[in-house]
């Protein structure tokens, strides 16, 4: 039987200063963050249902369990700040402001999807919210995000670029090339590494030598590691690193320790050969980012259960409406197949 892998540095930060920082932030903002996380969770669980019911073409890589990172980071950004995302990208897109209905439409390959159905689950782009696109090449958007930061610096717009990637991307050389240039040229870019412990079907320690955080540190990049299940910590840390980048103080690296509730993709059902069911249950029961925030909102911010329930009702209704919109939407016209090859 496969052993339970130890969680990485998940101790809750309870020092006075952090608590004071969280308490200083308006409860409305925390409720908004709660709603965004819940929206991603329900979105992803619905995608899984669509897949299992054979109502969706292709596959999808679900973000359930990691919501605290996308929401915590994107809430620290301006609308015109840039993000780049990954194959596991639905959460980043929603957190940056994408609409549920057009997201579902894209996943179903419909004309009203964000990319007219030409991109699909792994390539959702929404320039209106600064989303430069999800990328299905691991570390494939390292250059794009760093280039967007480079461009922002040249154009003097004060925009920051965030590059989301999983710990698997640390195996790709191009990421170190662009980190070197980001550090040399003090580019306003934040590298957010979501360490969910599994690179596809392999425990990350089996394929990663040495220290994760010391890699960006070798370039002189400020590196921090946080509990990615604690959205409060992710949010406040991201705000600090984003503002630092915006001031011109250069790039930063934020390692967020987290867990992927589902398999590598929706079809990865029998996972016993690489991770234990008990491990998955442990994370869901004790380290769920949405529950952790809900508990704190109730215990320390006086939020009534009924308020959280009404948010849940609202989000579920938005998801249901979105799925209906997408399922009823038309597929692209055949004439679209060779459009948009060239600008």
């Amino acid at each position: 039987m496969i052993e339970i892998k130890p969680p990485i540095n998940l101790q809750q930060v309870n020092e006075q200063s952090a608590q004071a920082e969280y308490l200083a932030i308006d409860v409305e903002q925390w409720l908004h963050i709660y709603e965004q996380m819940l929206k991603i969770r329900h979105f992803e669980e619905t995608v899984n249902e669509l897949y299992k019911g054979a109502r969706m073409p292709g596959l999808a890589h679900l973000y359930s369990g990691e919501e605290g990172i996308a929401v915590g980071v994107c809430e620290a950004l301006r609308r015109d700040d840039y993000i780049t995302s990954t194959h596991r990208g639905h959460g980043h897109c929603l957190a940056k402001g994408a609409q549920v209905n057009r997201m579902f439409a894209e996943l179903l390959g419909k004309a009203s999807g964000y990319c007219k159905g030409k991109g699909g689950s792994m390539h959702i782009a929404d320039p209106e919210t600064g989303n430069l696109g999800a990328n299905a090449i691991v570390a494939g958007s390292g250059g794009i995000a760093t280039g967007a930061a480079f461009s922002s610096k040249m154009r003097k717009t004060g925009q920051v670029a965030v590059c989301f990637f999983g710990e698997g991307a640390l195996g790709q050389g191009v990421l170190y090339e662009v980190m070197n240039m980001a550090a040399l040229w003090k580019l306003p870019v934040l590298y957010v590494c979501e360490n969910n412990m599994y690179t596809e079907y392999t425990y990350y320690r089996e394929v990663m030598a040495g220290s994760l955080k010391s890699r960006p540190e070798a370039f002189g990049i400020l590196s921090e590691e946080v509990d990615g299940q604690d959205v409060r910590k992710v949010y406040t840390t991201a705000m600090r690193l984003v503002e630092r980048a915006r001031r011109g103080d250069g790039p930063a690296f934020l390692a967020c320790n987290t867990y992927r509730y589902h398999g590598h993709h929706v079809g990865d059902i029998n996972r016993g050969y690489y991770r234990a069911k008990e491990e998955e249950e442990l994370w869901k029961e004790t380290h769920d980012p949405i529950n952790l925030l809900a508990n704190w909102l109730q215990s320390s911010r006086g939020v009534q259960t009924s308020i959280l329930e009404s948010i849940d009702t609202h989000v579920r209704s938005e998801i249901a409406t979105g799925v209906e919109f997408a399922e009823e939407a038309p597929f692209p016209d055949p004439s679209e197949v060779n459009q948009d090859v060239y600008a």
Partner: protein, 340 residues
């Protein structure tokens, strides 16, 4: 479809001959003056002016903020170019040797080429990858290849192969203004070649072949380094009483199919030349376009002449065997014309 150069010699207010390098440099400088979003990034592009000295002097006018020396990280700075292009800039990424396409192919083929389509047309990637081709510089297998078939195979990219200083300047200006990723490939041996280039503003459209010499017996299609080889062969053939037409497509994507097909219909015999490897190469595509488009007019199979399908050897006595030369083109043309 006609050669612009003769007109120039007659009508240009200022007649002058400059090198291919100077023409490229002028195009870069003019576009950088015209458009503040244009910048150059690559290895040793600033004070060194690249090993080929093409960008020499640009850093003095535009500063190190727009003529940027990058580390030896081709995939990294190509990727930065892609991201900058997506967010309002027009980068010209300098890839010293075409062989290094092997290093940057993910950025070129999976990122730059596909982003416009994948985003449903919402994002665009206006950038130029400037690189080189060509053997016989005794640079061996990793600095001598002509890999234009690679980018030409990927939808979403445009591919430019200038063969004169005039075309180099006009086509590079068009490439920089194009809203798509363009791979612009220069023959290293051509950098010091001179040609007529007017002073001042002009651009050259993509997808327009140049009929460099008219003829009636056989068509020689040649790209980049093979244009001069084909023209030299045409000259020798004329002495033998064989009238050769010579066409330079100038861009492989988009390709001026019509001009190639019309010429083949007229002459009935065609040799296609390109310095890329012959198998699965540019010559295969051009020959196929011609064979399909002019089938009933052909008197002989369309023949391909590309680089020998071997890694480019170092030894001069071997390397010279890998590239088509005028003598071999003449022999092939004589065979096709039944003049052996």
């Amino acid at each position: 479809m006609s050669t612009p150069e003769p007109d120039l010699k007659n009508s240009s207010p200022v007649l002058r001959e400059i090198t291919f390098s100077q023409a490229v440099r002028e195009a870069l400088a003019e576009e950088m003056r015209r458009d503040p979003t244009v910048f150059i990034i690559g290895e040793d592009v600033a004070e060194a002016g690249t090993p080929f000295k093409v960008t020499l002097g640009l850093v003095e006018e535009f500063g190190t903020e727009r003529v940027i020396d990058a580390p030896i990280s081709e995939p990294g700075f190509s990727g930065i170019g892609v991201g900058a292009a997506m967010t309002g800039m027009r980068p010209v990424v300098d890839i010293m040797f075409g062989d290094f396409l092997g290093l940057i192919m993910d950025q070129v083929a999976n990122q730059a080429a596909k982003i416009h389509y994948m985003s449903g047309g919402k994002l665009k990637v206006p950038m130029v990858f400037r690189t080189t081709l060509g053997a016989t510089r005794r640079a061996a297998a990793q600095h001598s290849q002509s890999l234009q078939a690679w980018p030409s195979h990927i939808p979403g990219l445009k591919v430019v192969l200038p063969s004169t200083p005039y075309d180099a300047k006009g086509l590079l200006k068009t490439a920089i203004r194009d809203d798509n990723p363009v791979v612009f490939i220069e023959d290293k041996l051509m950098h010091q070649a001179k040609g007529f280039v007017p002073e001042g503003e002009y651009t050259q459209p993509f997808g327009v072949a140049d009929i460099k010499r008219s003829g009636t017996d056989i068509t020689l299609v040649g790209t980049s380094s093979m244009v001069q080889v084909a023209l030299a062969a045409a000259e020798q053939l004329a002495a033998l009483g064989i009238s050769a037409e010579m066409i330079d497509p100038r861009t492989t994507v988009p390709l001026d199919r019509q001009t190639l097909i019309e010429s083949a219909k007229k002459t009935g015999r065609v040799i296609v030349l390109d310095e890329g490897y012959e198998s699965y190469g540019i010559t295969a595509e051009l020959a196929s376009v011609i064979a399909e488009g002019a089938f009933y007019y052909l008197d002989a199979p369309v023949k391909r002449m590309g680089a020998l399908d071997v890694p480019i050897p170092f030894s001069p006595s071997l390397e010279d065997l890998t590239v088509p030369n005028p003598t071999r083109v003449v022999e092939m043309a004589k065979t096709l014309c039944g003049r052996v």
